[in-house]
Amino acid sequence: MEGGVAGQLRTLGKEARGGLLGRILHGDLGGLQVFIALALIWVIFQLANDRFLSAVNLTNLMLQVTAIAIISIGVVFVLLLGEIDLSVGSVSGLCASIMAVLSVQHGWSPVLAILIGLLAGTSIGLFQGFFNTALGIPTFVVTLAGLIAWQGAQLQVLGDTGTVNLPPSTITDLTSTFYGAGVGWTLAVLVTGAVLATGLLERRRRQKAGLEPGPLPGLVIRTVLIGAVMFIGVAILLSDRGVPLAVLILLALLAIFAFIAKRTTFGRHVYAVGGNAEAARRAGIRINRVRLTVYALASTLAAAGGIMAASRLIAVNQSSGSGDVLINAIAGPVIAGTSLFGGRGSVWTALTGALVIGSISNGMDLLGLQSSVKFMITGGVLLAAVTFDAIARRQRSQVSVT
């Protein structure tokens, strides 16, 4: 217990620590640390091998991370609830297998096969969510069972041969289509323009309502940075094969789900359930419905990621969705700053986290390192990130306890 004086002193102390160092220690850099990490990784690998930052390799990197990043979008929502989904890898493999078998062995149209694959993901999410929400079984256990069971189902679906090769079709086009300069530059202009326009519009609305409009330099810096990334990125992609359709799909999904997370009632409720489920329940939020929706969403996005992975591999086999798919999909957002403890994080960490892990993996492949070393380093990065999250969390709770 403390009086107002102590409280004021604490507030003063907090303001004094508001500098960059203080904010790093408090873990509220707004995701900046992941960009620092990414820059470091890129510089190190570029120094070790000057092909790392070439247009060909960066295009490959983007194609490599697409599937994992899409799976991670769903994982971010699950993590925001303070839950975990260990089945996303198996679900991605199973749903890709269902799609491949329907399209290749049963002659279904590719679009219909993709749709059924996605729906299979949705059903799995609802099924697993039922056990968590209606029966109160922890997601860790439910999805651990799913991890094993769906892998078995995948083997069953694939049958004796164990591999289904995908002939050229809409499915393979997903990752082998590249767009030229027209689409590329239009995209860069549209994205940059949209960032600036929405920012200015919001400032106008806030000013009209008599609210603090927020710092203009912040908006300018944000626009310039995003614009730079878009234009330089498009320039690099165009100097190789062009702008991949897969990357456009990924960016569209990220934008849609980031909007849902931050700007809609549903997204707000996801954060609330992850922050304090009891408070959310008392506020009249139907928390089980929120949870069920998130599980269905996560499994559907896992299916989408699996389909993208199959498209890139031009095949589905018994090891699709196994190996490090699951651990990378969860580690990515966590490395990039989404908390494992729920309530804190951003959909964009699905991309930045996948880029960190993808860059490490890609760079070590270029250097010809063995899988053993790759796994150990990736594990080390994950441990460091989670430790950082835990320390930041403790700092925050120390500030709030009075």
């Binding site: 809609t264 707000r268 009249g284 500030v399």
Partner: protein
Amino acid sequence: MNPQVARGEAESSGDGNGRGSTEHLLALRGFSKSFGPVRALHNVDFEVDAGEIVALVGDNGAGKSTLIKAIDGVQPPDNGEAYFEGKKVRISTPQAAENLGIATVFQDLALCDNLDVVANLFLGKEMVDGVPVHVLDEVDMEQRSNQLLKDLSVTTLGSVRTEVGSLSGGQRQSVAIARTLIGQPKVVLFDEPTAALGVSQTAQVLGLVKRLAEEGLGVVMISHNLEDVFQVANRIIVLRLGERVATFDREKTTPEQVVGSITGADTAEMRRIEDETQQKLRGERDE
């Protein structure tokens, strides 16, 4: 002067054995609640008027929390009638209480630390624009938050975009109180609003409680702290072992008398006063 003949009691007996209760904002008659063999509430009457602060005091196990839970629908009573604005009502769920305009500020606050003040104020009642997708209307919510906190003279928060987790206990309590007002309630129930708060923070919260009553809301406050009770309450209702044993007019009583009533005082005077009250209450019920 007999401190036990307080305003509420006088009115109750005046309007024909107290069962019409038209002039009370909220009135309960004959509330009882048992948990197995344990009588948590026994034939308790209760009433609060608009603009009035009623303090509900009593020792541990006296039935204060059970009564609050019966009022806000968390735990409906076994027997008893409730009247809201003169009309007989059934408060069987928290939702029913909220729809009537009864809001509760919980002891453990029930805030989301990871969300900012605006998000917490509007949690579960978000303002949206856009029909197919519920897009949050942040500008309107922030504007209303500022207005609400200004009306309540909560000035210590700084920005309403501050994360609630970084606020002090008093600030958090202020947010929790302001939050109940989003639904525009008519009765606000407080369960130990000043527990675990420091001196200045307590003053801040009690100021808020008073302001709600000044706005015309009926306020019910459970508290163990008689000092706080005497600062804000108009009437003090004492529960002991599940029964309402005394009602005091704050201006005509002393903390000692209230303490005596809470503990079942040892002095002959206290016993006499108590017997009288009991008789009176019993008499009222028998009518």
